[in-house]
């Protein structure tokens, strides 16, 4: 655990001293703040459903930019060799990078909670969809970070890593569209692979273990694959 703490400290330092983190945060808050203000003034309805769906899209687009440097930069600079010849297990290196990127995503979501606070101060929102929405976004963020870490472990080119992560995120988003063309039971598999299907239930205020399990299972799978890639050198 000590090695994990040392690695996490290094990764957090690298994440929060990078201009990428602040550029991503600026875009995230600019877009969500703009949308929040507009929807509040026009609809006068105290809910965040629209904002949550926008954050869902923004995370799919922005998380690959956060994670692209994770391993690609280490490979390019040969510093991965330094880490992998230290008495540290590969899984801790992967987990430290995952937690550091997830911390940034959680920070973005925490910052956006100001919108919920504003609704609470001036209206009477239904809090269940808001809690559910934030939990769904955190789980989604975790999955997208894990996918980004995995694609970054495959290459030393950051743009390639980000593009592949974006592609996987988009494919998961639209996975259910393939169900119309697939025979049973593959159509059910396609529907259940879809990111959005497991997201909307949370935002509706309903929380199912199966939906949380989907995000956690795929996240663990991506982290496992990243660890295997790092081990297989």
């Amino acid at each position: 655990m000590s090695a994990l703490a040392v690695l996490l400290h290094k990764e957090l330092h690298a994440t929060f001293t990078s201009a990428v983190a602040y550029a991503v945060a600026a875009v995230f808050f600019l877009v969500t703040g703009y949308t929040f203000s507009l929807t509040l003034f026009f609809t006068k309805v105290a809910n965040l459903t629209y904002i949550f769906h926008q954050m869902y899209v923004l995370l799919i687009l922005l998380v690959p930019i956060i994670t692209m440097r994770a391993f690609a930069e280490e490979r390019k600079a040969d510093t991965l060799e330094l880490l992998l010849t230290s008495p540290v297990r590969e899984v801790w290196i992967v987990v430290a990078k995952f937690l550091a990127a997830l911390t940034l995503v959680a920070g973005l979501l925490a910052g956006s909670s100001a919108y919920a606070v504003i609704l609470g101060l001036y209206g009477e929102p239904d809090w269940a969809p808001i809690y559910g929405g934030y939990l769904a976004l955190l789980l989604l963020g975790g999955l997208l970070v894990a996918i980004g870490i995995f694609t970054s472990s495959l290459t030393e080119n950051q743009v390639v890593a980000a593009t592949c992560a974006l592609g996987l995120g988009l494919m998961l988003w639209f996975a259910d569209a393939a169900s119309y063309m697939l025979p049973a039971p593959l159509d059910v598999v396609a529907i259940n692979l879809s990111l959005i299907g497991h997201f909307t239930t949370f935002v509706g205020g309903s929380m199912f273990l199966s939906d949380a399990g989907y995000y956690l299972t795929l996240s663990l799978l991506a982290l496992f694959l990243a660890t295997r890639v790092v081990m297989d050198r």
């Binding site: 090695a3 040392v6 690298a14 600079a77 510093t79 330094l82 992998l84 010849t85 230290s86 050198r233």
Partner: protein, 242 residues
């Protein structure tokens, strides 16, 4: 070959390489190499580019797994007991992998903690190594601003900071100017005796001036292993073997 390559006396051998091979598909990077390194000596791995020196060092540090054979470091198998083996090794790769955004002291502290030093012990170890590799005036500088010579010192410093028994140096004077080469050689000689040093080089003079023994590699094979004291003309020997 004027030295036995049979298993060594365990009281003196700190590194043991037994019939080690590494293949990449059909290409053999290292073939059936066996040798031992004694505690406190400087062993030079000499060979042209592509002779398998870096691959051999990478297997020793645990970065690469051998296709066949076995390596032990301080009695620990580099595959089965990788974590224990790595604690005994400091490694300075040829490419000088450093985190440019970190400051020198910060980087050395990170490596010290990563290699197992406690939060309490790390600062003293960092101070010690900064003095040893003469980085005092650059300790607060961001690594990306350093010259090649200073970066080399930081790289050697990170290899020493956790006080390993064995220091592995891959082409340690590559890219340095003549003064820096002389200083690096002096540093390596200064470490001899208190630490075991394994260094690779494709430069004859490099090995002649720093090593106690020389292992000559060509196309992944160990051609000779002998004491420098028994090698009055390394150049002639090298030419005769290759």
């Amino acid at each position: 070959m004027n030295e036995s390559l049979s298993p060594s006396d365990p009281t003196t051998a700190i590194v043991s390489i037994e019939r080690v091979s590494k293949r990449y598909g059909r290409v053999a990077a290292v073939s059936d190499v066996s040798l031992e390194v004694r505690r406190g000596e400087v062993l030079g791995l000499l060979g042209p580019n592509g002779s398998g020196k870096t691959t051999l060092l990478r297997m020793l540090t645990g970065y690469l797994a051998p296709t066949a054979g076995r390596l032990t470091v301080a009695g620990f198998d580099t595959e089965r007991e990788a974590m224990q083996a790595r604690r005994h090794i400091g490694y300075v790769p040829e490419s000088l992998p450093l985190y440019g955004h970190m400051r020198v002291r910060e980087f050395l502290s990170f490596i010290a903690r990563l290699r197992g030093l406690s939060r309490r012990a790390a600062p003293a170890a960092v101070d010690e190594v900064i003095e040893r590799v003469r980085l005092g005036d650059m300790a607060a500088a961001p690594i990306r601003t350093l010259s090649r010579g200073y970066r080399q010192r930081v790289a050697i410093g990170q290899g020493l900071v956790h006080r390993p028994d064995i220091l592995v140096l891959d082409e340690p004077t590559n890219g340095l100017d003549p003064r820096q080469i002389i200083e690096t050689r002096a540093l390596i000689r200064g470490l001899a005796g208190e630490r075991t040093i394994i260094m690779s080089s494709h430069i004859l003079g490099e090995v002649e001036k720093t090593a106690d023994r020389v292992a000559i590699l060509l196309r992944g094979r160990l051609l000779d292993l002998r004491a420098m004291a028994d090698t009055p003309d390394l150049e002639a020997l090298f030419l005769s073997l290759t």
